[in-house]
């Protein structure tokens, strides 16, 4: 069921997006952020908290206060290990207790420090690759997952309730379970610690909660003989750090959008770009899928007129992820069925748009998001909309379908809401799977015309972004009319220029290759 679109047009869009991504990369390569540094420390295995402040935050602040962060946290930690002969966690504890100042220690030579740092990173990566192999083997012990993967959300605020609901969802047919984070966690400049049972509109993303949910999903996977994907959210001020936790605890999919935080959470654009890069780089190393959040771009504007912005963002997100070393099959681009259902042929236009995305990004395990904007308290009609959405997802062969809830506009889903949604999605996955092969669009009909128009507009917008650069495009409101200042937004003071001796061997191909060999 192919749309007749020009491959040249698609390739041109991709080339422009690549140039945009390269420009961004050039600007962010000299930069690091406090959350990148904390991610490095977490990957090395430093854990713990003091007065509710994570050790990694204390360590990074310790260096920042002494204006010594530009060499990166690892430089100082490696030096401290060399000078004191202590293990990493011991060094961290001493700094936290105030009995050790990293900056006041005598300094080993740079080559010694670099060697030590590479050794620490190699050990950490080796350990993590080994763990990752165990996860992959577990996953491969199950039959291949069905398509589309049915993705549901739990958000009770209490991780134990979340697990009970997630297990029930898996038994009802869900393939992916995401735990919505507590509202505004994306604005915290630290990752809370421990098991949490209170949250607002969701449950805190913590390493302990990740671990508990992982255990629960693995248990139910064995019961239903289907692998269950664990999903959480990277976006926010701790993108890289949360990616590190996802790796440590074996998550499968992380929501990770390069522009979302800037546009919808008013995070500083440089902070977000630096963070998304390291975050995606890490996830790519461990074959964790990222999903992007283009659905948000058409929630506040006329979704029919402005739909091309979804494609613009997808092209940019794809290229940025590639710059971070990700393979296309790990880059799950997001889109959504958010047209006003009242416009004539709304279902038909959704079908065209969904197919267009699928066709432009054939190797991306695209994630299709359900209607939300026009849902009201009428849960019965909402269920009709969701059922049609489920039909679209099957018909256009989406890889991941995030299921809509009949009570979308009302509250976090009740357990029966999720059940009814899954029932509808399973029905369509069974009842409509051959549509995609057996039906065709009329050549050069309304569908082809719409697809071609959207591509032309996408190319125009990409050109404009390419001409003025992403930073200006974000300040001029190119994306859904939202304007952000270059130095504005949250988290800008956490961005710093890397110094001459800055070290981050996680980015070093040789170090990564050595760790991979050792893990075998």
């Amino acid at each position: 069921m192919k749309l007749n679109i020009s491959h040249d047009q698609v390739n041109t869009c991709r080339q422009i997006a690549e140039e945009i991504a390269l420009d961004i990369q050039k600007d962010i390569t000299p930069l690091s952020t406090i959350s990148v540094e904390r991610a490095i420390l977490r990957l090395l295995g430093i854990e713990g908290e003091e007065d509710k402040i994570p050790y990694v935050n204390i360590l990074v602040e310790h260096l920042r206060e002494q204006k010594s962060l530009e060499e990166g946290a690892l430089y100082w930690i490696a030096n401290a290990c060399l000078q004191t002969g202590l293990a990493l966690q011991e060094v961290a504890q001493k700094v936290v207790s105030g009995s050790l100042n990293l900056v006041h220690l005598p300094r080993s030579s740079f080559s010694e420090i670099k060697n030590k740092a590479e050794g620490l990173v190699t050990d950490s990566l080796t350990r993590l690759f080994k763990k990752n192999q165990v996860r992959k083997a577990f996953k491969q012990s199950f039959p291949p997952s069905p398509s589309p993967l049915l993705y549901v959300i739990v958000a009770s605020g209490n991780i134990y309730d979340d697990i009970a609901q997630a297990k029930a969802a898996a038994e009802q047919g869900a393939d992916c379970v995401a735990v919505i984070r507590s509202t505004a966690q994306s604005l915290l400049d630290y990752v809370p610690e421990g098991i949490t049972t209170e949250g607002f509109g969701g449950t805190f993303a913590t390493q302990a909660n990740y671990g508990l949910m992982r255990q629960g999903l693995d248990e139910v996977a064995l019961k239903v003989s289907r692998y269950i994907y664990q999903v959480n959210y990277c976006s926010g001020l701790c993108m890289a750090e949360i990616a590190a936790l996802a790796i440590l605890e074996g998550l499968d999919i992380m929501v990770n959008d390069a522009l979302y935080g800037i546009l919808f959470r008013d995070l500083n654009m440089y902070r977000t770009m630096v963070d998304q890069h390291f975050s995606r780089y890490l996830l790519g190393l461990f074959d964790i899928i990222i999903t992007t959040g283009e659905d948000n771009l058409i929630k506040t504007v006329d979704a029919f007129k402005e739909y091309s912005i979804v494609l613009v963002s997808q092209f940019i997100n794809e290229q940025l992820a590639k710059q971070a070393g990700m393979r296309e099959d790990l880059i799950s681009l997001g889109h959504a069925a958010e047209l006003d259902p009242g416009i004539p042929d709304s279902f038909f236009w959704e079908l065209v748009q969904a197919q267009l995305v699928r066709q432009i990004f054939p190797r991306s395990p695209v994630k299709f998001m359900p209607p939300t904007r026009y849902k009201t308290g009428n849960l019965f009609f909402a269920h009709v909309l969701d059922t049609l959405f489920n039909l679209l997802a099957v018909w256009t062969d989406q890889r991941i379908a995030l299921l809509g809830m009949p009570t979308e506009a009302l509250h976090t889903p009740y357990i029966q809401d999720r059940f009814l949604s899954l029932e509808s999605a399973l029905h369509l996955r069974n009842a409509a799977s051959s549509l995609k092969q057996e039906l065709r669009f009329r050549r050069d009909g309304k569908a082809d015309q719409r697809a071609q128009e959207l591509l032309v507009r996408t190319r125009e917008t990409l050109n404009r972004v390419g001409e003025i650069g992403i930073w200006n495009a974000l300040s001029k409101g190119v994306f859904s009319q939202i304007k952000r200042e270059k130095r504005g937004g949250k988290g800008y003071n956490g961005v710093f220029k890397k110094g001459h001796y800055y070290l981050n061997p996680f980015l070093d191909d040789m170090v990564v290759a050595r760790a991979r060999r050792r893990a075998r």
Binding site: A164, A168, A170, F200, G201, T300, V301, Q416
Partner: protein, 247 residues
Amino acid sequence: MTINEVRPYGDRLNDGAVQLSFSLPVPLSARSREAAKLIATRMGLANIRLVHAQDMGNSFSFYILYGTTAISVDVQAIHVPEVETPLLDFWEINELIERELKKKVVVVAATIGTDAHTVGLDAIISAKGFGGESGLERYPQFKVYNLGAQVPPEVVIDSCKKNKAEVVLVSQVVTQRNSHLLNLSYLSELLEAEKLRERLILICGGPYINAQVALETGFDAGFGPGTTPLQVASYIVQELLRRKSKK
């Protein structure tokens, strides 16, 4: 014919027909089916029919029931506090402000606390508007400062002072653990403490907001789901005029 005592309507007047669905945290069994019916009975329903019951896995089950209720209510006797101001049109509103108030009305708008939902706020404020109506930003006689989502109440207050605001519009969607009530009360108390409360029209909106919530949290008006920008604008201008005439 006016009916005073009304019951739910299924397909005969006053048959009292009610449909009900819920889940139980137990696996489906003959006993759980009886439990579901018993719950409906104890809710006061009669003629209970359990029309559907299904296991949901992990020791949960789902039930759909019908029943009838004998309860009736006198609709006429019910008093509901509502924001009752006549609806003006876009041009009337702008003209009234220009002629009677002689300066633009300054509005500060935000979603406060940890609430990240701006859909309602955007519907009323953003130029795009809602239900085919333009948002307040499009009104030439309104000057709107949209502070966005997750704004601390203190920032709202600073903005009110700096911009000499006359109207504060707050949207609250998240209601978990009554966070919307706490946030709203906190803001109105803070404004009181800052001695700004008197000179402001405080308006809240959201899916679970109504006039009653507004009263309880110290707001002047509360608008629920489906409210359009025109309703809010009409209220603002008429309330400003009312206050002006009282002075």
